[in-house]
Amino acid sequence: MRNATGMSRRKFLLLGAGIGIGGPLLAPHSLTWVASTWQDKGNTLQSRLLALFHHQPSARVIGNTYLQQFPQEANIRVLLKHIVADFSGGFSHSDDRLSSAADRELMGSLQRRIRRDFSEEKVVKLQGWILSATEARLCALAALA
């Protein structure tokens, strides 16, 4: 059988650990890091989102795959717009409320968004893996960082 993945399962497991596929999307120990940087007013949305990965190199591998498939989204602003659009908290990527949102609120919104992606079939197939469009874009964000 042809290996449709091109990316080994073992490698994806590592990626999973990175973006929370093997565990919760926003891994608990990344919360500590987020919390420690929470008071940093210069913290951008992109860096806050990237802080959610505890294995950014892995996320970048997935992100690069996504960008190869969707080159039109190879732009941080475009990705951010897609990621926060239609958040259940009513955020937009330029919204001040987003930068002032508590980390738990941000994570909760992301998790709800990802689950909703799956139930609304807003998914992408990357090397055979069925991922929510939002989590794939988060990885793409890491790839562009």
């Binding site: 059988m1 497991l13 999973g16 689950r115 139930s119 079939e121 090397q127 055979g128 069925i130």
Partner: protein, 572 residues
């Protein structure tokens, strides 16, 4: 009574009322239904009471399509037929399986599931399945393993009860009854070579029979039933061409077409969010009360209609973290089996067979640790170097020590307490209802067997709908597991790359003499009577117009019982 046909003198003609060709699940069921009735029945079985290589060779055929199992392995030519290697899985077809579905060409049975329901109940008894419960809800309430917590209604859990290995073989189960029934004659080593008809080709008059020892004789009967197999039934019709050059029942070129299997393939991986996700339900297992079950994930009827795909069933096979593999093997050890046997007996307040052996296994296993204790210590003390090793080991290594030092029961208990060893991932194997396809067919080839009969050629072919159904089912699984937070799915079956070599069937030979009320679209009518022939019937899964994803045995036994009822009524 059982008769060795090799001792019947050549050129004799035997007289009977009903002649059944084949003593597998269908043939034995028919004989069982007629046992003790006021009708003479002759059963012609190609083999003996056990396997023999010369008879097996008669089933050899040639693959000219997708690679398939060797036909002399897929068919078992001796008393009991393929029930001699049957896995015991029983589940009725779903109501949707009987419907004519616009998105499945050539689908639809002449009747709905309600027609078969009463026969399913009788078939369950024939198959020795003790419980009459089919509902997943019922079994999930009793089972020790939970179903995966899907949130939507796109996926369902199906539970398949399994007849125990000690009770599932038709040959030992029915041999005595058939042997003792005064109206039954079971001819062993009796190979049908041709069905002869009257001049008009509308009534079968005789069955020509040959033995590998060289003697040939005839069986004259009022009714004939082909119950040979999904390969042999069409072969025998095609070989019977004395009056009808295309073969019996083949006036519309339907015999041998629509060969169906249950294509089966590892098509994906489920990476669980929680490595301790329980998937025990989806492997064959015993409930606490001893019933054997196997769970599957399937698409709901609503989803199948919406997606316009075939029925798909997904098996989830856990692949454990390699650090735990030695312990995983322990779960199937004889000692753990002995402990489970004793516990079951204890709960039911009985004494199991081989009680002493089971007890010895458990005691030996539990005392394995003494090999690692300080010799002659006043109290049981592990050797200091072992304590040091454990102290320095990581958690996974500690489990490995558990397996190394404590036999197999301790790791099994550890697994039970932790509700499963950590998973690395879960292999998803999909098994689909193959779409009926007229180009997937059995024909006669140029080679001949020892009896001078043409061997078959099997051209197993699948359609794009089969592949689309497999892939779409995985996509739905991926979305539902993501939505429920269960994990992520990878599809390993490429859409545009044809079928991989690893594709296999389920040893299920179906569809080659399909049922249809329209003679142009099928070989038999709703009563399993061959179109245009007044006294020829077919039993077995070769009459299935569609294959469902359920194992075929229960349904083919149901149809055989229904056919027996039909003939009883017809013969008064």
């Amino acid at each position: 009574m059982f008769i060795d046909a090799r001792r019947i003198a050549s050129n004799q003609t035997l007289e009977t009322d009903i002649c059944i060709i084949g003593a597998g699940a269908a043939g034995i069921t028919l004989a069982h239904e007629f046992a003790g009735k006021a009708v003479r029945v002759a059963v012609l079985e190609s083999g003996g009471l056990d396997f023999d290589a010369d008879t097996r060779d008669l089933s050899v055929g040639q693959d000219i399509g997708r690679p398939y199992f060797p036909l002399d392995v897929a068919q078992l030519r001796f008393f009991g037929g393929t029930t001699n290697h049957w896995g015991g899985l029983c589940r009725p077809f779903n109501a949707l399986d009987f419907e004519s579905r616009p998105w499945v060409p050539h689908s639809g049975w002449p009747f709905g599931k309600t027609e078969l329901d009463p026969y399913y109940e009788r078939a369950r008894v024939v198959c020795n399945l003790h419980s009459a419960e089919w509902s997943a809800d019922y079994w999930l309430r009793r089972d020790r393993f939970p179903a995966l917590p899907f949130v939507g209604n796109r996926l369902v859990t199906r539970i398949v009860p399994v007849v125990s290995s000690a009770e599932r073989r038709f040959a030992p189960n029915y041999r005595k009854e058939l042997e003792q029934a005064a109206n039954l004659s079971i001819y062993l080593y009796a190979n049908l070579t041709e069905l002869e008809t009257n001049e008009a080709g509308r009534t079968v008059t005789e069955a020509n029979v040959a033995c590998l020892t060289g003697n040939r004789f005839k069986v004259r009967a009022k009714q004939f039933i082909l119950a040979a197999s999904g390969i042999e039934n069409p072969r025998l019709l095609l070989l019977s061409k004395r009056r009808q050059p295309a073969g019996l029942g083949n006036q519309h070129d339907q015999v041998g077409r629509y060969f169906m299997e249950h294509p089966r393939l590892v098509t994906g991986i489920l990476l669980p969010t929680n490595p301790r996700t329980s998937v025990g339900l989806y492997s064959q297992h015993r409930t606490l009360r001893g019933e054997i079950l196997e769970g599957h994930v399937a698409l709901s009827e609503q989803t199948l209609r919406q997606e316009q795909i075939l029925d798909v069933q997904m098996d989830l096979d856990p692949i454990f973290d390699p650090a735990y593999m030695s312990c995983v093997d322990a779960l199937d050890s004889e000692n753990v089996t002995s402990l489970r046997t004793l516990l079951r007996a204890f709960r039911s307040r009985t004494i199991p067979n081989d009680f002493q052996r089971h007890l010895a296994n458990v005691l030996n296993d539990l005392s394995a640790w003494t090999d690692h204790a300080v010799t002659a210590a006043p109290i049981p003390l592990p050797k200091p170097e072992l304590i040091s090793e454990v102290w320095q080991a990581d958690p996974a290594e500690r489990v490995a020590f558990l397996c190394e030092w404590f036999g197999t029961i301790a790791p099994a208990a550890y697994e039970e307490i932790l509700e499963g060893f950590p998973l690395e991932h879960i292999n998803v194997t999909t098994r689909i209802e193959q779409a009926p396809n007229p180009d997937s067919r059995v024909t006669l080839g140029p080679e001949r067997d020892r009896l001078g009969l043409n061997r078959v050629q099997l051209n197993w072919q699948l359609t794009p709908l089969d592949q689309r159904s497999m892939i779409r089912a995985l996509e739905v699984l991926g979305m539902e597991t993501g939505s429920a937070g269960i994990g992520r799915v990878q599809i390993t079956l490429a859409e545009d790359d044809g079928w991989p070599e690893t594709l296999r069937g389920g040893w299920h030979l179906m569809g080659t003499t399909r049922m249809s009320d329209d003679p142009r679209k099928g070989v038999v009518d709703r009563n399993c009577q061959v179109h245009g022939i007044s006294n020829l019937f077919i039993a077995g899964s070769s009459v299935f117009p569609t294959a469902g994803s359920a194992p075929p045995t229960l349904t083919l036994v149901s149809l055989a019982i229904r056919l027996a009822d039909h003939l009883k009524e017809r013969m008064g």
